[in-house]
Amino acid sequence: MTQTSTARMTEEDRTALAGAVRTLVDDLAPVDRVRTLAESETVDARWWRAMVDMGLAGLLVPEAQGGSGGTHAELVAVATELGRTLADGGFLATAALATPVLAAAGENGLLQQIAQGARATVALHGGTISGVATGDDRMLELHGDVDFVLDADVADMILLEARTDRGGTMVAVDARTAGLSVQRRTTLDLTRSQGLVRLDGARGRVVGRPGGSATLLSRALTTGAIALAAEQVAVAREVLRRAVEYAGQRVQFGRPIGSFQAVKHLCADMLVRTELARAAVEHVASLPDGDDRLALDAALALRSAHQAAVHAATQGIHVHGGIGFTWEHDSHLFFRRAHADATVLGTHAAQTERILSALGL
């Protein structure tokens, strides 16, 4: 497999990238494979290796650091393909959350590690980590714990915010370092793990400027919102496709249920929300990196995509009827992903405030 180089990609190149990712996903991470891994809580090293080899893990890592130098447009293209089968395996946390933090902080060494296959994650839900100064002013001794960290059990590198006497400071901790332990949580979404990270004197390296964690975290929130929104739209579209297909086959009262207006209108409602969110995601993908509307429009796209995915996943089960309520059916995997995704970057209220504050309200 050849490494993806995304610098100055054209629309055509992006279509080709999406096609290549789709082939890879269908080959190595179709829904039934994702389900098998999820049920056994197993990590698929082969899938991660394939994503690294294809340049997806380092999608947003600059080319100078061995990455693919991708933009938001490529991020959307890849997240869309992965979302369709609920494949992730570390992509969101590594490429969309950790990479923008490291890039904004100019941490070239850590970016190189990502391009070479290290998995990373960012603790987004705060916690009470305190950072104590050590002899080395780039190193902090860390105490406390932080919960709900995506992929905490598989990450090689955990980025978290520590409270220090110089303010909130971003820190990178090696997952194998002494004094760090991870407890995997039972999760609603079976396809993406979360964990509690405990720090008992573990040492972490300061990322960026001491006291500068807020700016770095906001980068993770914006880029993460773009990737999550793309993924949620893909979830909504896939669920809708499955519902429409089933409604065309399932016969009741002597007719396919898809010919009943009540079922049609349910699917049309799913389509309306999905297409609005899709337009929002495409709009955000087209904005240049430094655009001053990026944070606002990314937050809008995310909100719209959440609404579409949760609605579609809920109604998709309804269209399927009883079979959709069984464990064996895939509907609940999408339903779980849709609901869990809506919590990754904070509550509805927090997102509302993000939108309004960007509008100066």
């Binding site: 396919p256 898809g258 010919s259 049609k264 389509l271 337009a279």
Partner: protein, 402 residues
Amino acid sequence: MGVGPVPDLAEFVRRARSWLDENAPRVADRTELPSDRVAVFGGGSREQERERFEALREWQRRKQDAGFGSVSWPAAYGGSGLPIEFEDAYSELESQYVTPEPVEVLMISLSIESPTIRTVATDEQKSRWLPGLRRGDLVFCQLFSEPGAGSDLGALSLSACRDGDGWVLRGQKVWTSGAHLADHGVIITRTDRAASRRQALTAFVVPMDAPGVTIRPIRQMTDGTGFNEVFFDDVKVGDDLRLGDVGGGWSVAMTILGFERTAVARDLGAAGTDLFDRLVALARRCDRIDDPTIRTALADLYLRNRTRSWAAQRALRQATGGLLGPESSILKLSFSSELQAAGDLAAELLGPAFAADNGQWGTFAWSELMCGVPGVRLGGGTDEIQKTTLAEHVLGMPKESR
């Protein structure tokens, strides 16, 4: 214009700006308070409506004579023969100036009926009507719905019967916007009782002052009277007024529908955040800007507004041959729910001042919007027709048994 090299867009914009500077005040320089009307299908007397109509018609004439009224139309019809980007650039620029309020029948005439004429009429008809249509000298309304044919267009029964060289029209149309202001109307008639709807219908252009045409206003629930019922009692029309083939009326209607979708998308894609901005100002005036209920509703409204606008722009980018397909039904559906959300938020902010006029600017006016929303959900294909269109023509779901 229309021959020779395409001029530079920047040069065109510069010329347009200097013409607009001479002919209209900028929005930012407006001294008087803008109107507090936020109505859809709103009120006002027929006299007020005619004044607005004449003001807008005069504006279209001035634009046309200056070369900005039909930017992307061929010179033969009074246009400037420029690419569509020039027209978009002009519209964008014009939105920064205070221009006459929109009047529905003129929008229909310029954005829906005139491109339909250009697509389906004979060369003789085009040169007869299009120069006048483009300048606003000639205004066409659209005669579709009937008492017995609302959602079911194929069921229409107003008949056109052969009469020597011409035709005689008999029957009734209803919900005709601006019939009282228009010079002519594009009418879909039934010319064959037996044939299926695809062959039974024929389109004509009928003068609204022809003997036998009676126009009566419909007073809507907003108290406005923009719509009419139009009666045709043995109205004679020549065969030279037939639009398209005998039996080709369904196809003319579908052409009109395509331009209507496109016009709606252009409107919705270009529309700004006026209602949202007004509601933010209202929330501040009511001292509710920090109320979490209001903040949630404001963010929700802004989200609806932006996604609808992005979806309209996307639909226009992806339109094949410049025309939108059935997927554009999502725009109309999202627009009606956006208006509903705006009305609900205004009602919540105003409390009793929403239901009774205390004379304060920008308060009771919101009730007129609320009273218009049920009409938006009905007009141009009901919400349910739009959903069925999406399900059958976009998602490919099985047809209902009809």
